[in-house]
Each structure stands twice: as structure tokens, then as C-alpha cells.
Symmetry: C2
């Protein structure tokens, strides 16, 4: 029986057209798969814990693959890092049950969206935070994020284009933190629809600047109408910041 291995990755998404392999663009999945195939000397099918769009970052990411190789798990991150570019790193690996699947076994995910709310850009946050120079009202922002917490149909805050059976998800928390001129929006859910995190952020920004009322958000969710919610904010402010699994693989992401 081939071993099933899960690896912990993190990456800066700036140089990549997202996670998922595409015909003519460089992606994180292809970069990691190519490095693994060099190490394992066999074809690799690599499953990631989710599609991240072009420019989106991952502080934590899980991917898994089956292999005939006997390489010890504690050597694998070092072997991978010797081949990976500096903007992708592997920091852990462990053997997982045969039925483990990075996306299907994932219990919860946390995304953090970073906004630079300042009159001036910050060169150190280029491609790493959404520069939004108009002042955002934190009180309104906090009222707005609360409206998303709970089990709802999130059809109004997703982009069409992916086939999902249900658009109902549970948001466990959606927090606002202001640290100097950086506003961080952390949202945790049992699953995210396509562009859901970025559409929720666009909607709470609209609530913050008065283009809609925080109280409108429940009605917008009920309507299921994407046109009533705020815009999808740019990808480069978005980070996958935490993922939860049961068992041994869960310990890799503590």
C-alpha cells in the first residue's frame, strides 16, 4: 500500500496564479508537485486544502499525496525546501490515513484580510495588504461583521463559476482588529464559497463607509442576490491563516 503523506506549506502568493494548476501560468500546486516528483522519482497527484486565487497568500496550507517512496517524513520538508523557490516553504510532513484528503478532511478554515487604512501607501505592504486611504469606521465595521456569524445561505456573497451542492455555510467568528493603520478582518467558517471571503470583506467595507447599513446585511443574505452585497475586494490582502484537522495532521497546524 502506498503511504499517504500530508505536508504543511506556507507561501507568498504574489508570483503565482493561485494554487491550482493551469495550462500556461505558474501556480503553487505545480511548483510543489514538480519538486516532489524530483524527490520521489515518481508521478505525484497533489491535493490541496483549497483553491487560493492569484495573489492570495497562505500562512498555513495543507496538501497530500500518495507515494511508494520510503523517504522519512522528517526529511521531506528539507528536501522540498532545497528545490522550492524562496516564496514557498514546507515546514512539516506526516503520514496520514489512506482516506485523508486535504480539502474534504478540513474541519474549518480561517482567512485574514489585511487593509492598510492610511493616507499613504506602505512599501513594505505592497502586494500584502489592500491600500484603502479613506477612513473606515471601526464601530460600523464591527457591527457589520457580526451579521455574517452563524449558519446562513451565503449565495449573496459568492461569485458564480463553481458547482457546489449547497451554499449554506457556518461562520464561527468574524473579528475586526485595528493595529496602527492596519485593519485585520479574521473570518472562520466550516467552508468558503468561491470569493466568499473577499465579497464579505467588500460588504463590510461598504457598511463601514455608509454605502449600506450593517443592519442590511441579514436581508442581503436572505435575498441571495449578489448585486445587493458589496464588491469583491482585491486578492492581495487575503491570507489563509489557519486550518483545522482531526488527528495527527491536526497537530501539524496547532
Amino acid at each position: 500500500m502506498r503511504r499517504n503523506i500530508a505536508i504543511r506549506l506556507s507561501y507568498l502568493g504574489t508570483a503565482y496564479h493561485g494554487w491550482q494548476i493551469q495550462k500556461s501560468e505558474i501556480t503553487v500546486q505545480e511548483t510543489v508537485k514538480t519538486a516532489l516528483e524530483k524527490i520521489l522519482k515518481e508521478p505525484v497527484v497533489l491535493t490541496g486544502c483549497g483553491r487560493t486565487d492569484a495573489g492570495v497568500h497562505a500562512e498555513m496550507y495543507c496538501a497530500d499525496f500518495k507515494t511508494n517512496s520510503a523517504i522519512p517524513c522528517d526529511r521531506l520538508p528539507f528536501a522540498l525546501n532545497a528545490l522550492l523557490p524562496g516564496d514557498i516553504v514546507a515546514t512539516d510532513a506526516c503520514e496520514v490515513p489512506q482516506d485523508f484528503n486535504s480539502i474534504l478532511s478540513c474541519r474549518k478554515k480561517e482567512y485574514t484580510y489585511r487593509i492598510l487604512n492610511s493616507s499613504f501607501r506602505n512599501p513594505f505592504l505592497k502586494d500584502r495588504a489592500y491600500f484603502y486611504p479613506s477612513p473606515l469606521d471601526i464601530t460600523r465595521l464591527k457591527k457589520a461583521v457580526e451579521k455574517f456569524v452563524g449558519t446562513h445561505d451565503f449565495a449573496a456573497v459568492r461569485s458564480v463559476g463553481s458547482n457546489v451542492k449547497s451554499t449554506v455555510r457556518t461562520v464561527y467568528y468574524f473579528d475586526v482588529e485595528k493595529n496602527g493603520d492596519i485593519i485585520s478582518l479574521r473570518v472562520c467558517a466550516n467552508g468558503f464559497l468561491y470569493n466568499m471571503a473577499r465579497a464579505m470583506v467588500g460588504t463590510v467595507i461598504y457598511a463601514s463607509i455608509g454605502k449600506l447599513e450593517p443592519e442590511d446585511i441579514s436581508k442581503i443574505l436572505e435575498s441571495g442576490d449578489r448585486c445587493l452585497a458589496g464588491p469583491t475586494v482585491p486578492p492581495h490582502g487575503l491570507y489563509l491563516t489557519k486550518i483545522w484537522y482531526d488527528g495527527a495532521v491536526g497537530n501539524m497546524f496547532k
Copy 2:
């Protein structure tokens, strides 16, 4: 009389061949000068507060120029930022006395050198910290940095190539701070010789790993022999983090 204007900048040095204009490479000085000339519609001579090498960053930087333009100082940063790339930003400007000179009027400078002392790279610190996977002994590091504090001849920790009258400088403080796996070395002096900050860091790293004793550093300084000190560490971990001026321009850098 043409006004003399000082501007506050910050930049990520990764994409630039340092501050100073070069014939065939993109530099920060040329990028800012070109933007100023577009705004002011006149040739600009731009003086910076110091040469930073290729890959070195500046959280604070001062540059000055004389102009016939009547543009208000509070408009200048916005006008500049509309033309500058995202990795250089202007955040302030003020009129300064005719004899003000960004480099000659500078009282003190603080450089911070960031080391990622961890088994694994961090993709978010690529080009922003020196990745040094072997464990560094903080106690030895702290003993070593102390040896540089005070007024000394720093000829042993500079690279030749620049003409300076004296190699005597005063280091006011040289601190070690460990925050998770990031070690920050902050050094403040009334002036820095060419590559002095990076050669001092290379020397304290050598003291930290036992390639030399912290106690040897005073003798190395006395010898004036560059070969006895540690290596010049890479530029991408180095940040100009604070500069001090008298008068109104000093308030821009508080």
C-alpha cells in the same frame, strides 16, 4: 531664492540597485528624481541622507532638493506617490534652510539588521531578513554588540572603496532583540563607514557561533585589520530605521 525642500521617503530596496544613481541600473534616487522632475517641470538635483546598497531597505529616508516651483509642501507627497512605484513612498515634506543637506545635516542614524534564525525559511521574509538556520547564542551576541559601543576607529569593519577623512565614529547603542525566530540588531551611530553595519553584524554572528570571542572584538577594532573581523552579511536583512535632524526637518522623523 529657490526653496530648499526636504522629503521623507520609505522604500523596499529589493527591486533597486541601491539609492545612488548608476549608469545602467534602476536606483531609488533616479526613480524619485524622475518623478520630481515631472511634477516640478524643472531639472532636480536630489541629495539623499546616505547611500544604501542594492537590496537594502529604508523605513525612514530623507532627501532634499532646491526648486522654483510654488507647490505646497503638503501636496508634494501625494503628487509624488501618484507617480512613484508601490515600493517607494513619500510621506512628508517641509521647507528647510538653504544650508540644509540630507547627508551633512544628519545627526545620527539607526540601522536594524533582521535575521531569521529558524530551521525553515519564511516566504513572507524572502528578501527581507537574512535566513540563518544554525542556532545563534543570544548571550554571546549581546556580549559582542556591547564591544562596538563608544567612540572607536571602525577601519576593521568597513569595506574599502570610499574616501573618508577619518574612520573614527561613535556608536551610541547596539541592541539585540529576539522576537520568536527573528533576531533584530539595532545599531545607532553618528555615521557609518561603507559596509560598516553589515561587517559589524557579520562579526557579532561570528562571536555568537564561537568563531571568535566577544572579548576579541576590542582587539580587532584596535588592529584596524578587516581580515580579523567577521564577514559582511547580505544586504537584504538591512533596514535604515531611524534618522535624526535638528529643527523642523527633525520633526518629520519623530
